[in-house]
Amino acid sequence: MSFYLAGVKLPHRKHTAGMSAVSIDMPKEVLIPTVMHIGAPAQPVVKKGDKVSVGTLIAEAKEGLCAPVHSSVSGTVEEIIDTLMWDGKKIPSIRISADGEQTVDSTIAPPVVEDRDSFLAAVKQSGSVGLGGAGFPTYAKLTVNRPIEELLINGAECEPYITSDSITMTDNTEDLVYGVELLIKYLEIGKVIIGIEENKPEAIKAVKAAFKDNERVSVKALPSIYPQGGEKVLVYHTTGKVVPQGKLPIDVGCVVINSSTTAFLGQYFKTGMPLVSKKITVDGGAVEKPQNIIAPIGTSVKDVFDACGGFKEEAAKVLYGGPMMGISVPDLSVPVLKNTNALLAFNEGETIQPKTTACIRCGRCINVCPFGINPPAISKGLKNENFEQMEGAGATLCMECGCCSFVCPANRPLVANNRLAKQALAQHRKKEAK
């Protein structure tokens, strides 16, 4: 049975398309949180006064889901302090003052890989997380206990404004190719499909040309209908497979990896340099010179905007990531994270949203939802603490893509309610399990 994945047509606003990334001036200091991934915090292995270099391990991954953290600058550890993160949690973060030399740690060398296990261990050591925004540790995603039939490289980049993935695909094509080759070799992958939204013809051309001799790899142009980059959406549009509710892509034999993450892996296995810098799209109506930049992880958002000519208008809202799923930050002191792919600064006009009014039951939210979820029913269930209703309306399926809220003529907080409903359901299940 074919399923129609709806979605919405968004304005693209890819102003920075084709702009190669330039490195920003070295910041004077960086603040590197020990959690820039989904999972437990990494444990700091440095203390105040320690000298560190670029690539020095500063927090290691202990048991469980975690990713190690490395210094992005050479300099001195100033302090380890709890910092308020965007999600309201306080996370131990390591503040390092930079000496400006950018000396590379002497231990940095391409990892020696012999088999699957040593490959995965090296991936873990690289500190790699999903660079598309989710920040799920890459090694954990690749550690699967069944054969991977299809590896899907996610180059959809479906959010407006963002071009950091596409510029990586056109400027770092060799790294992407090497990354894909390594994954095929060590994970015994049968087929690789690279999905790129059709509004990026340059990236499609570059990647197609790079893989023209590899019959295992194909490139699939995806329609420009948001959200092509959602994992389950990508799996469906590239392989036709439906990931059952509550399951992961691997349950249908698929693994989805972001294109920039793959390119990073290629680079890492060539040089041994862990994940210490990020390619970021800087854009939004308040930014003087929108462009793609490369910044050390931990650089303050303010330093990044300053490197782009500062603000031409007062910034009313600043986002980590794109406008559909991005997170608004409380102030400009927050650092660049591993999974920061864009920094957007909106002016006052771009920040104002229509007033929330009564639901007129137009059904737009239901009809645009890629997964057929019923957001108003979830909101109602949440209000009445009716867990059955939330579940039945598909709350657990919600990927928070934002289509429903985007189209709502009454501007109701549908995504926010879905998020709360998911949390409420998770808590309810925990309670029931006891």
Binding site: Q245, K247, I373, F406, P409, A410, V415
Partner: protein, 305 residues
């Protein structure tokens, strides 16, 4: 640099708001309003204006009394008043038009919680109420230059021939805004282009009436065409049945609603005591709408069957 705005994603929004939608519906109804003015004169305009102003005023006053926020800015009361006015004959006494508007806004909409909470379409329900309460509505007005003595549906029921072209243009007896199929279709195309409505409900509604009329009356194409061009079917199908609050959400549900309303319309027209059945058909489908929504839910992606 202080006080960055914090909010939940998404951070962009379509320009489409409730008031923009209602404004679109109002714009779409302008050709029909103008046609009504041309065929029925100033009297028609005064009925429509009475309905619109009383509808808006009663919502304003009701919200004042119950200390709720003013909601007239969403323009839905304008649409309700306009639709009711266009559904009345031009010779309707103005006080009756006012009573109907108050009924629509206060009893059908506001008392149930205002916009989005009404169970049935306010304009349709008020029309049905007026049809039953005020007997003069059964004797409709006629175009200024017309010599007709009954509405086309009454004539059709009596086995008389009607001029299809007059039906299409609207030079016939009937309510102010329902007679000109042409004017209504211009507005309908506008609504479809602006994606305020989809084709599913109106097209299945009208097609059902057409096919059934064709079948029950000796396969007469003229008769079937006359059936869909007259008696408020077009205004009902495109403008009243598509009311978001009281019609199904998914395309599948809209098709069910359209077919159901079509069947009821034909049943009433041919076998009921009233010559016209569109209003009753929509009202009845409004009542079972929650169930249609239940039957036509979208499947969850990867969900159990």
């Amino acid at each position: 640099m202080s006080g960055l705005h914090i909010s939940s994603s998404p951070h962009i929004h379509t320009k489409c708001t409730t008031s923009a939608i209602m404004l679109d519906v109002t714009i779409a109804l302008l050709p029909a309003t103008i046609a009504g003015f041309i065929f029925f004169g100033l009297r028609a305009l005064s009925v429509v204006l009475m309905c619109v102003s009383v509808a808006v005023l009663s919502e304003l006053i009701f919200n004042k009394i119950v200390k709720k926020e003013d909601t007239t800015g969403d323009l839905s009361a304008v649409v309700t008043g306009l639709l009711l006015g266009l559904n009345l004959p031009a010779n309707t006494p103005l006080w009756q038009a006012a009573v109907g508007s108050i009924f629509a806004i206060v009893l059908v909409k506001c008392l149930f919680g205002g916009i989005g909470c009404n169970l049935v379409n306010p304009a349709i329900t008020a029309r049905v109420f007026m049809l039953i309460a005020f007997s003069n509505l059964a004797k409709p007005a006629f175009p200024i230059d017309s010599t007709a003595t009954a509405t086309p549906l009454v004539e059709l029921a009596a086995g008389k021939e009607v001029e299809l072209f007059d039906l299409f243009i609207g030079n016939i007896g009937g309510a102010i805004g329902e007679t000109s199929a042409l004017a209504l279709l211009i507005g309908a195309v506008y609504l479809l282009c602006r994606r305020v409505i989809t084709w599913h409900l109106p097209v299945t509604f009208i097609a059902t009436v057409f096919v059934l009329s064709f079948l029950v009356n000796d396969f007469s194409l003229t008769f079937a065409l006359a059936q869909i061009l007259s008696g408020g079917l077009i205004i009902g199908a495109f403008y009243m049945a598509t009311d978001y609050v009281t019609s199904p959400v998914t395309p599948k549900g809209k098709v069910i609603f359209g077919i159901g309303a079509g069947v009821i319309t034909v049943l009433i027209r041919f076998w009921g005591i009233y010559p016209e059945g569109v209003s009753f058909a929509i009202l009845l489908m409004n009542i079972i709408n929650p169930y249609i929504n239940l039957w036509s839910r979208r499947k969850l992606f990867g969900g159990k069957k």
